[in-house]
């Protein structure tokens, strides 16, 4: 990152804190919306009966939440444009 004014140590800490705050938001099922980048939210996965592929025994898997990312318009367009440029 081009941060001429800030010492690398501060940038490193800032990046860690940004990722932590995003993780914390998702942990509380709070959406993240970054204009031009994308949005993060949680998707629910219903409980299901799974199977241990080695032993073949069935296991009950409870419902759970998984993180989901939807790319924003600018990110989508820039990434897709790189396909034709390359």
């Amino acid at each position: 990152m081009n941060q001429d004014q800030l010492p690398p140590k501060d940038v490193e800490l800032a990046v860690k804190m940004m990722l932590d705050s995003m993780t914390k938001a998702l942990t509380n099922n709070q959406r993240i919306e970054i204009r031009g980048f994308g949005s993060f939210c949680l998707h629910y996965r219903a409980p299901r009966i799974g199977r241990n592929p080695k032993s073949g025994t069935t296991v009950e898997l409870p419902g759970k939440y998984v993180p989901h990312f939807k790319p924003g318009k600018e990110l989508r367009e820039r990434v897709n444009a790189s396909l034709t440029k390359a």
Partner: protein, 99 residues
């Protein structure tokens, strides 16, 4: 609960890291721009303990306008996918909400 935004993240850096408001805003902006630029350069982005942003090239395929039923080809494209890391998945998995 309203969504977390760049403004919220900048405010957090201002309060907790003692950056001034302009610096905080700039670093948040350049963080996301750095990821976008890498992806635009067809480079995968790995953020330890958060997740990976991967790129996938999709072939063109026949599509359909769901309203009219008209057939339209979907062009070949490059898309971004996010694969959450183990740590993030584990933290989020056990969320028991009211919604």
């Amino acid at each position: 609960m309203s969504a977390l935004t760049k403004a919220d993240i900048a405010e957090m850096l201002y309060e907790e890291l003692g950056l001034n408001k302009r610096e905080a805003k700039e670093i948040v902006e350049s963080f996301f721009e750095e990821i976008r630029s890498a992806l635009e350069a067809n480079q995968q982005v790995k953020l330890s303990s958060f997740g990976n942003f991967d790129l996938r090239d999709k072939c063109s395929r026949p599509g359909r306008n769901p309203k009219t039923g008209e057939e339209i080809p979907i062009t070949a494209r490059r898309v971004v996918t996010f694969k959450p890391g183990q740590k993030l998945k584990a933290k989020v998995e056990s969320y028991v909400g009211t919604e």
